[in-house]
Each structure stands twice: as C-alpha cells, then as structure tokens.
C-alpha cells in the first residue's frame, strides 16, 4: 500500500492505493499520527485506487476512528471500488464510518 496526505479546507484527505494488509501497519501509523495532529473535522480516506483490504486493514480504519473520535473528527471512506466496497459492506462499516461513493 502507498498513501498520500493532503490538507483540505475542513481537514485532510488520505489517498490509499494498492493492497492494504497486515504488512502496512507501520506505514499506517504515520497516517494515524497525521490524524492526531490534524486541524478540522473531516478526514476523508480516498479508496478509489485501493485494490484490496484484508482484516488487518479494516483494523487500521478502526484504529484511525479511535483516534479521530475524541477530536470530533469524522472519518469518511470514499470511492471504494467493487472488491473493497464488498468487504466494507460485509463488515457493515457504514454503521461506524461515513461511507460515500
């Protein structure tokens, strides 16, 4: 997995691409740190280029949510393609995150 982080007027946007799996834990730590430091109320994960996410990847989103909640930051999972969309559906992530097309 690779990622880029951009500041947006109301928070930040993290674009993820490739496969998000167990081995990306260290990389994702930097994303979590960025959320800790961020200004604004919305953190958008752009998933349009993410090919796959496994259970460890879902766990990383949960960790991000855990950090974001006390700061009143909302996490949005945007633009997931078929495979990732199906995985988010099975996990009913729409009950925890704002999931947008």
């Amino acid at each position: 997995m690779d990622y880029t982080v951009h500041t947006t007027p109301n928070g930040m946007r993290v674009a993820l691409n490739g496969r998000m799996t167990l081995i990306d834990h260290e990389k994702f730590r930097a994303v979590v740190e960025a959320i800790e430091r961020m200004e604004g109320q919305v953190c958008v994960f752009d998933l349009s280029s993410l090919e796959f996410v496994d259970s460890s990847g879902l766990g990383m989103f949960l960790i991000a949510r855990d950090i974001a909640q006390p700061k009143d930051v909302e996490i949005e999972l945007a633009g997931a393609q078929d495979t990732v969309k199906r995985i988010l559906e099975i996990a009913k992530f729409n009950t925890l995150f704002r999931v947008t097309p």
């Binding site: 799996t21 167990l22 796959f52 496994d54 259970s55 460890s56 879902l58 766990g59 990383m60 949960l62 960790i63 855990d66 495979t83 199906r86 559906e89 099975i90 996990a91 009913k92 009950t95 925890l96």
Partner: protein
C-alpha cells in the same frame, strides 16, 4: 618484536561472544609461524589454542576436539591447507565452521584458490597483527551470532510445532465430525489450514440436544501468533459462556461483550454461528462480518447474508440473523476469507463469483464435496495462501 594492540575489552553478556571460551586450531608447518600466530590469538583473548604441523594431523585434531575457528597455512607437507579445507567443507557439521587461510601474494594474490577450497576468509602474508586479530574476531563473532540465530530458530520451530498441535486440538477431528454427522443425519467435512504455523481461525460444533447442532466459525484479524492466542482466549470464553438455550444472535451478543473488553482497538473476530435443526429442517444463524456462506440445493447456489460488525469492535453489535430452510439434500458451505481472497494464476481474486462457480460444478455429487472443492480450488489459485484457510461443508442426507 610485534607491538601489542590496545583492544577494547569485550562486553560480557549472554548476547556477547566470550573469546576466552573459544578454541582455535592453528595448522602451520613452521614452528616460528605457529608461535607468532599463537601470540596474536592470545591477544584476541582466545582461551584455547591447539597446533598441528600439517593437514592430516590437523584433521585428526579436529576429529578429537571441537574448534570454533581453524587457521590454515597453504604449503605444508603430507596434506596442504587447500586439501584440508576441502575436506573440512565436505564434512557434515563443518560446513559453516570459520576457516581462515594464510595466502601468499606471490602465488595467489586474491586468495581465489583459498575461497574455491571453501575458506571463510584470507589473511595475506606477511601477517599484519592488527588485521589478523580483526579478522579472527570478526569470523568468531559471525559464527557466534549465526549459531545463536540457528539455535533460536530451532527452538522457535519446536515451540510453534507444539503450539500448532494445541491449536489443532481445538478443532473437531474426523471422529467428532463422523459422530456428530451420524447423530444428526448430516455429512460434515472440515478443513483447517493455518497460513503460518499458527492461525487466527477457529471452528467447532455443539450438540444442542433435540436434534439441534450448533456450528461456530470465527476468524480473528491478522494471522500468526497473536491471532492464534486470540483463538485460545475465544475457546475459553465459549467454555465459560456455552451456547445451549440461546438463539444465535443472542449468544453472539453475549460473546461480543467480553471480547470487546479483551481485544485492543483494531483487533476483532468475524463470526458465523448457525443452528441446524434436522427435525424442523431449518438453519437459524447469526453473523458478524463473516464471508457469505453458500447454500447449495437442487443445483442452485445461494449466498447467505453474513454481514455485520465484527465481534469485539463495539459494545452494541450489529449482526445479521435469519432462518432459512435446510431440507434433506441441502448443503451449507462455510469458509474463511482466504478462499475468496485467493489469487488465480493471472493474479485476480477468486472472489465470491469464482467460488460459486466451483461449488456449482462440484457439489451436485454428494461424496467428498469439500475434498473435491479444495482440489479444484488448488488447481486454480496460487499457493501458498496469504491467510488462514478454513472450510466446513455440511450436507443433509
């Protein structure tokens, strides 16, 4: 006269080499050289030094005594250093022993012949004390760390093998499956295959009485040791909170609460729990983010919705619960995500569509459905799998 060098004292400790415990064999036909080399070796702090004057007596020494490093000259009577080195390397157990050879710049400047014979390192003549000592220490340290790592690896492998046996004992064996199947008029097949020595998958059966059989399959996030420990915790939890007398969703909710307290944020379990009632011909289930089990009946494959928040994520679980007919001839396939997330030879995910296609091809014949499915699966996907594989196939007779 050769000046003594100021060398830093070796730091003691279990992860540090103790040179005084090392034993070195010096093989050289010149008594003068043996004495000089012996002095250098002593300066390194080596505790044990033995000598031989030719290759053959050197090998005799080695047969009688274990050495940590062997120092060879090339030109010697009876058997030269190159031949002795070749024989060392041909001996099982000495393949990684540090062998240092003294080379002469005139005959073999780059030490090519020495390395071809299997030398670990070369020391050019005339011998420079500092270089000599540095190379001896370096090669001894390398050997020490290599041995440490090998020992550690071996110990870990043994531990993992034991732990794997323990994990397998949590999963119903063939006898249990045959007994439960006979009592409930079912054919039950199971496959459990951790991707590493240990895995995060778990499944089991419960005889609930009155013709009811419970099937629980769970998959802890991640894999390897930490996920495996979670399966043991889960097993303990189930012993404490057995499913008897509860509806599927009710029971999974009861398991969710302690799991939420137990698991750190980011760890969770997907879960599918079903009760097959062979008298009523029904299957009642509840699920928390599990892969959609497949129902095969009259040549048709349908997917059961097993979506839901995984166990251990929140205090208020959101699960899917349903009851569907499970008449004679029906077959249920429960599987871990490793199946649909397997990659085919072109690198594409097998996916739910791929699995449904395989099931449609293979399940019309009732015998050995799961074994034949796995064989067809193996034929299409790349091994090894990235995740733990569990598959359970339950056919009503």
């Amino acid at each position: 006269m050769i000046p003594a060098l100021d060398l830093p004292a070796p730091i003691a400790g279990p992860n540090r080499i103790s040179f005084s415990d090392c034993r070195v064999l010096v093989v050289d036909d010149s008594r003068f050289n043996r004495e000089i080399l012996s002095r250098f070796v002593q300066w390194v702090g080596i505790g044990g030094i033995d000598f031989a004057a030719d290759g053959e007596s050197g090998l005799e020494r080695m047969a009688a005594q274990t050495y940590d490093l062997v120092l060879l000259d090339i030109d010697m009577p009876v058997m030269d250093g190159l031949e002795m080195c070749r024989r060392i390397r041909a001996t099982p157990g000495w393949a990684d022993l540090p062998v240092l050879m003294q080379t002469s710049p005139a005959s073999d400047p780059a030490g090519v012949r020495c390395f071809e014979a299997g030398a670990s390192d070369i020391i050019g003549k005339p011998i420079n004390a500092g270089e000599f000592m540095a190379r001896v220490r370096l090669n001894l340290e390398k050997q020490f760390f290599f041995r440490n790592l090998t020992d550690f690896h071996r110990r870990l492998q043994n531990d993992l093998k034991l732990a794997r046996g323990m994990q397998k004992s949590l999963i119903p064996d063939n006898r249990v499956l045959a007994d439960a199947g006979a009592r409930h008029g079912l054919m039950i097949e199971g496959r459990f295959e951790p991707s590493d020595e240990l895995g995060g998958d778990f499944w089991t059966l419960f005889d609930l009485g009155e013709g009811r059989l419970g099937i629980l399959a769970a998959d802890f996030s991640g894999h390897g040791i930490s996920a495996a420990i979670n399966t043991f915790r889960f097993h303990t939890l189930i012993e404490r909170i057995p499913p008897h007398g509860y509806e599927p969703a009710e029971w999974l909710g009861m398991l969710n609460r302690p799991l939420k307290d137990l698991l750190p944020v980011g760890q969770f379990a997907t879960c599918f729990y079903a009760i097959i009632d062979s008298r009523e011909g029904t299957l009642s289930y509840a699920a928390a983010g599990a892969p959609s089990p497949l129902m095969f009946l009259d040549g048709q494959v349908t997917m059961l919705d097993a979506s839901g928040l995984m166990l251990g994520v929140t205090r208020n679980p959101i699960m899917t619960a349903d009851q569907v007919p499970f008449p004679a001839g029906a077959c249920l396939l429960i599987y871990s995500d490793a199946v649909t997330e397997a990659l085919d030879r072109q690198g594409h995910l097998l996916g739910e569509d791929g699995l449904i296609r395989l099931v449609r091809d293979i399940f019309p014949h009732r015998e050995n459905r799961l074994a034949r499915l796995i064989a067809a699966f193996d034929n299409e996907v790349q091994r090894p799998l990235a995740d733990d594989l569990t598959a359970i196939c339950i056919s009503r007779l």
